[in-house]
Every structure is written in structure tokens, then in C-alpha cells.
């Protein structure tokens, strides 16, 4: 089955070559950081130590867990319409969680010592659990997706021992972003993060941004290879995204209410800084309102059924959701947590070009995996005349 990844049209190799270049550039910058010091290369500083990269962790664990929204209906409730997209969703999750893990890895100041997290296990530290759940999710999805695909390739139903592993993978899915949310919501000094609704917000953004990215990639695959996952599947996923995104906006509204109705200055301060500027610092005002406008556009495009069913407007809505949530979760979440600092002043954070390229490199690794795995999966499905049902 792996031979499908080794044969491809020139555009396949050009795409992989492009991704490899991005990875090499990222690796160069990451390596340089450890020789000349992070202060000379990145935008991080004493008052904001987790920036763009941990933001990517927050975003991509959400994207990875979004696959649960496809896998759960198919395996728990026999929703046959998802037959062709389930394996693709699991492979998508593998790539996304890999990006998340790499995003954490590039943040480490002493990379050779990363294995100390396993050598000196610390059950009171959330990073310990994050490592376990992210690695577990990666392995589980890889096993599930590959075994089911291989069974399809051979024309048989998948082996019975896979069923408990599939159930475990579905239950494991929400844990990855709950644990990532716990990284933030248990810190007493950070008012923007110290809220119980952080984990539900992660869940809501996961179940909107993840499937949205999946829809965009699936429709892109349809354009490039002619493989159609099915109109009904796309429709259902679009409905899931709609509800999840509206719930996410509601949760944000709840946060704003608690902060402003309570009137506590330092509770309001991060939101004021992000949306209106604080003490003269207005760096992110434009970006945040742009994110809000994108969110509103997405809601309008998704709530109106005719627009949701139209592929063009659906793709626009999905891109708007992805961009809006990326700004809010991949970026603003970190800044809001650290600003204002413990002394109630603002030290702005602007990610630098090398910092951004390192993030792009981690994306390139994830998308390389997704490209290769999807190439294999789509080739298997297309090479079978009627490879529609995965018998369960």
C-alpha cells in the first residue's frame, strides 16, 4: 500500500519539495536560535515567554481533535455517509497532532533534555500528561487509519481487535485539547486564562476549526484527484461546524460578560488590550476586530442553508473560521494571557520572521504527512471500482 506514496504526478513531487524547503528553512532558524540565543531571533521576552509556537499548539490540538467529530458518528452511531472520509479524517488528525507536538518541541530551550519529561515523570505537571495524550493520539489514529485502510485495500472487513482501539481513540480525542487547555487554566497569575470555560472553548473551537480545515482539504482533494467524499458527508460536517462555532462565539460572550460585569480591572484588562488598546498600546486592535468580522461572515455563510450547501460559499466560510480561530487561539490567546504582565504594564510582543518561519516549518511537516497518507488512502479508494463501504 505504501507504494502509492512513491508514485505521483510531477505536481505531487513539486509540492513535497516545496514543503521540504520550508522544513529546511525552519530547521536552520531553530538551530541558529540555540547558538546565538532566542533573544536575537525571536520576539519572545521576559514578560511573554509563550508566543506564536504555543499558540500553534493550542490551534492544532484543536484541529487534530476535530477528527473526532467525523470518527465518532461513523463508529459509534453507524453513520454510513462518513464512510469515505473517516480514514482521511484519522490521517488528518495524525498530521495535525504532529504539528502540535513539534510546536512544543521547538519552544524548548534545551532540546537534548526533552526526554527528562519521561525520565523524571512528574504527575503534578500538565506537560507530562500533554506528552502522553498527544503521543497516544498520534499512535492510535495511525493504527486505526492504517489498519482500516489496509483492510479496505485487501477487500475485507477490518479485524475485530481494532474495535476497542477505535473506541479508545475516540475517547482519547477530546483529552488532547482538554489537557492542553489545562496547561493554561490552572495558572493563578494569568487572568485571561484562569477560567473554567477554557477547556469548553478549546472543545468548541476544535470542533469548528478542525472539521473546517478537513472540509477545505477534502474539497481540494476532490479538485486535484476527483475523489469525492460525498455531498451528504460535507453537508453534515458543515452543520456540525455551524453549531460548534456558534457555541464558541457564545462562550466568548460569556467570558466578556464575566470580565466586564464583574468590573474587576485586571480581569477586563487583557480583553481591553486586545480589542481597544491598553495604556496606549494598540498593537492588536486591528487584528482582533478582523477576526471578529471573519467570525460574523462565517456565521452568516453557515447559518443560511443555501449558502452552506453551495461549495464556494462553504469553502469561504470554512476559510473564514480557520483564519478567525487561528488569530484568536493561535495568537491572541497567548498574548492575552501574558498581557498585562504581573506588574500591570504592557510589553508588546511582535513575532519575528524567523519565529514565523519555524512555525511554518512545523506546518510543513504536518502537511507532508497528510499529503503522503492522503495520497495512499485516495489511491486505495480510487483503485477499487466501488470502494464505498468499510464494513464494520
Amino acid at each position: 500500500m505504501f507504494e502509492y506514496a512513491l508514485k505521483g504526478k510531477p505536481r505531487y513531487w513539486i509540492w513535497l519539495g516545496f514543503l521540504a524547503t520550508l522544513i529546511l528553512i525552519a530547521f536552520y532558524f531553530w538551530n541558529l536560535e540555540h547558538h546565538i540565543g532566542a533573544g536575537r531571533l525571536l520576539g519572545l521576552h521576559r514578560d511573554l515567554t509563550w508566543g506564536l509556537h504555543i499558540g500553534q499548539l493550542a490551534f492544532f490540538v484543536g484541529a487534530a481533535a476535530g477528527a473526532v467529530m467525523i470518527v465518532l458518528p461513523y463508529y459509534f452511531h453507524n453513520y454510513k455517509e462518513f464512510a469515505k472520509i473517516t480514514v482521511l479524517a484519522e490521517f488528518f488528525a495524525v498530521g495535525m497532532v504532529l504539528i502540535a507536538m513539534l510546536s512544543v518541541f521547538v519552544v524548548m530551550g534545551q532540546p537534548p533534555r526533552v526526554f527528562y519529561v519521561l525520565l523524571y515523570p512528574t504527575p503534578n505537571s500538565i506537560i507530562f500528561y500533554d506528552l502522553i495524550v498527544l503521543s497516544g493520539y498520534l499512535i492510535l489514529n495511525l493504527i486505526c487509519g492504517w489498519t482500516v485502510l489496509h483492510a479496505e485495500y485487501k477487500g475485507v472487513k477490518y479485524p475485530a481487535w481494532l474495535k476497542p482501539i477505535i473506541y479508545l481513540a475516540i475517547l482519547w480525542g477530546p483529552s488532547i485539547h482538554i489537557v492542553t487547555a489545562f496547561l493554561l487554566q490552572g495558572l493563578p497569575g494569568r487572568d485571561y486564562w484562569l477560567t473554567a470555560i477554557m477547556a469548553p472553548r478549546f472543545l468548541a473551537t476544535a470542533f469548528s476549526a478542525g472539521p473546517a480545515l478537513l472540509i477545505v482539504l477534502a474539497l481540494l482533494a476532490k479538485k486535484l484527484t476527483g475523489f469525492d467524499v460525498g455531498q451528504k458527508a460535507i453537508d453534515t460536517i458543515a452543520k456540525i461546524i455551524t453549531y460548534a462555532f456558534i457555541i464558541n462565539l457564545l462562550f466568548f460572550g460569556f467570558e466578556v460578560f464575566t470580565a466586564f460585569y464583574s468590573g474587576i480591572e485586571h480581569h477586563k484588562a487583557p480583553i481591553i488590550y486586545l480589542f481597544f488598546g491598553y495604556e496606549g498600546h494598540t498593537e492588536y486592535v486591528g487584528l482582533m476586530w478582523f477576526s471578529m468580522i471573519l467570525a460574523l461572515i462565517a456565521v452568516v455563510l453557515l447559518v443560511i442553508p443555501s449558502l452552506r450547501r453551495n461549495e464556494t460559499t462553504l469553502v469561504l466560510a470554512c476559510l473564514a473560521i480557520i483564519a478567525s480561530i487561528w488569530i484568536e487561539k493561535g495568537f491572541a490567546l497567548m498574548i492575552g494571557g501574558f498581557t498585562p504582565n504581573p506588574f500591570h504594564t504592557v510589553t508588546p510582543y511582535i513575532p519575528t520572521f524567523p519565529e514565523f518561519m519555524i512555525a511554518v516549518g512545523t506546518w510543513a511537516v504536518g502537511f507532508t504527512i497528510v499529503t503522503i497518507l492522503w495520497k495512499i488512502a485516495i489511491s486505495v479508494y480510487q483503485s477499487k471500482e466501488k470502494g464505498v463501504f468499510i464494513r464494520s
Partner: protein, 255 residues
């Protein structure tokens, strides 16, 4: 009724795996309890510090204390103002106590400068989050930073509500004009902070800052009613930074 060989083997296999997992799990849980015990140990000595902010009048008073610490511990002098490494430093009352400061307190107090350092909390969030126990709390209350084990994840810096921790954004040796040959430097990529001179405490001496303050800072064992810090707390009104977070800081400020 006879049981088939296959079913018998299945039963044996499942029993065997379950008992193995239960034993290993039991050992790990046991080990986990040991690990949890390390976080909340009991001890007779409880180090604490009281800083008399009224007695620090000139810049020189502060500089003597800061230099004593930074020179002894080879703390680099980073010119970049937003990426400094400072184990002990000076800031105004407003910045140090942002939740207590008020529009109508006296100007003199508002502009009074105070020394800031790691508070060596009794309930430290930084210790809770460190994934490798590079920062840990000793039984006598010192929150230590083990630079050998730090992986540079900066989780502790996110967790500290007081901004007391520093990351080495630059290779520190480039910014050291002179070194104390009896103490190591650090390298880029690890977190450092005030360690309450635990090496000196273990030999019965006082921290460098307390010595250099010439009586403006009190130090000692909180459990000993005759210690300078205990007396200072009993005889004066003291405040701590951000008490609402119940991190139970052990650095008291005499206002």
C-alpha cells in the same frame, strides 16, 4: 462442561495481562505517592525574609544589595530592557503591589521603591507545573532551580504570578564582564531565579543580599521566635505581594 483450549488460553492471557498491569500500576501509583510527598514535605526550619522598605533611601542602598547577589552568582548584565536577567531588582510600589495600590494613598508611598525577588512561596505554582522537577521546594521552604535539569520549557515563567523568573534569551557569558570563579554561570535556554543562597544557608551563613543590606533586610527561621524575621513581622505591619492568590509568599514587606 469442557472448556476449549482456545478459550482457556484467552482466560489465562487476560488474567495475566491484567495482573501485570495492576502490579506495575500499583508500583507506579506507589511511586506517584512518593513524588507527591516530595512536594509537601514537613520540616522544622522555615526560611523567610522581611524587607524594611522604609530604610532603603538612596539608589546606592539598592545597588549594593543587587550587586552583591548578581556579582556572586554571575548574573549577566543584559542590555536589552525587555529580556533582562535579574534575580533581585527594584521597582515602584505601584508595580510591586498593583492590586493594593490606590489613588489616594500618599505620594511618598506610591513612589517608594521596593526590592523584588522570588518570594519562595509556600504554595508555589511554579513548582506545580515544572515537568521535570527542575524547580522544586526544599523541606525548609527554599524554591530551588536546578539548572542541570531545566529543559527550558518556560512553563514556570508562565505560572509565576510575580514575574520573578528569568529565561536566558542570550548566551549569558557574552554579557559577563567579570566572573566569580567560585560559582558557575548558566547557558542559553534555561530558566534562573533567586535561589535564596541555599548553599550559604546550608553552611549557616546568610544570603548575600541580606548581608549587603546592612540591617535593612531581616532573614531567619520563621519557626524560631528569636529569629530576626519573626521579630520583624511581629513588631511591624507587613504585606506580601498578591495575597489573594494564596501562594503564601515568604518575603514580607514592612511598609
Amino acid at each position: 462442561m469442557a472448556i476449549s483450549r482456545r478459550d482457556f488460553l484467552k482466560v489465562i492471557g487476560i488474567t495475566g495481562v491484567t495482573s501485570a498491569v495492576a502490579t506495575i500500576g500499583g508500583v507506579l501509583i506507589g511511586r506517584g505517592e512518593d513524588i507527591l510527598k516530595e512536594i509537601k514535605p514537613a520540616s522544622k526550619v522555615r526560611w523567610a525574609m522581611a524587607i524594611d522598605t522604609r530604610q532603603f533611601k538612596t539608589d546606592e542602598d539598592f545597588q549594593k544589595v543587587i550587586e552583591a547577589c548578581h556579582k556572586a552568582h554571575n548574573v549577566p548584565n543584559i542590555p536589552d530592557p525587555i529580556r533582562q536577567v535579574k534575580w533581585i531588582w527594584v521597582d515602584t510600589f505601584e508595580k510591586a503591589f498593583p492590586t493594593i495600590e490606590h489613588e489616594y494613598i500618599s505620594e511618598e508611598i506610591k513612589k517608594r521603591k521596593v526590592l523584588l525577588l522570588c518570594n519562595h512561596c509556600d504554595n508555589p505554582p511554579c513548582v506545580r507545573v515544572c515537568p521535570v522537577k527542575a524547580t522544586f521546594r526544599r523541606p525548609d521552604g527554599v524554591v530551588v532551580q536546578d539548572m542541570h535539569r531545566c529543559i527550558g520549557c518556560k512553563f514556570c515563567m508562565a505560572a509565576c504570578p510575580y514575574g520573578s523568573r528569568n529565561y536566558n534569551f542570550y548566551p549569558p557569558r557574552e554579557f559577563l564582564s567579570q566572573v566569580n570563579p567560585e560559582y558557575p554561570t548558566r547557558t542559553t535556554g534555561v530558566v534562573e531565579k533567586c535561589i535564596l543562597c541555599y548553599e550559604r544557608l546550608d553552611e549557616g551563613k546568610q544570603p548575600y543580599c541580606v548581608e549587603a543590606s546592612e540591617g535593612k533586610m531581616f532573614f531567619g527561621n520563621l519557626n524560631d521566635p528569636d529569629s530576626p524575621v519573626r521579630k520583624a513581622i511581629l513588631e511591624n505591619i507587613v504585606i506580601v505581594r498578591k495575597p489573594e492568590l494564596t501562594t503564601k509568599p515568604m518575603v514580607f514587606y514592612i511598609i
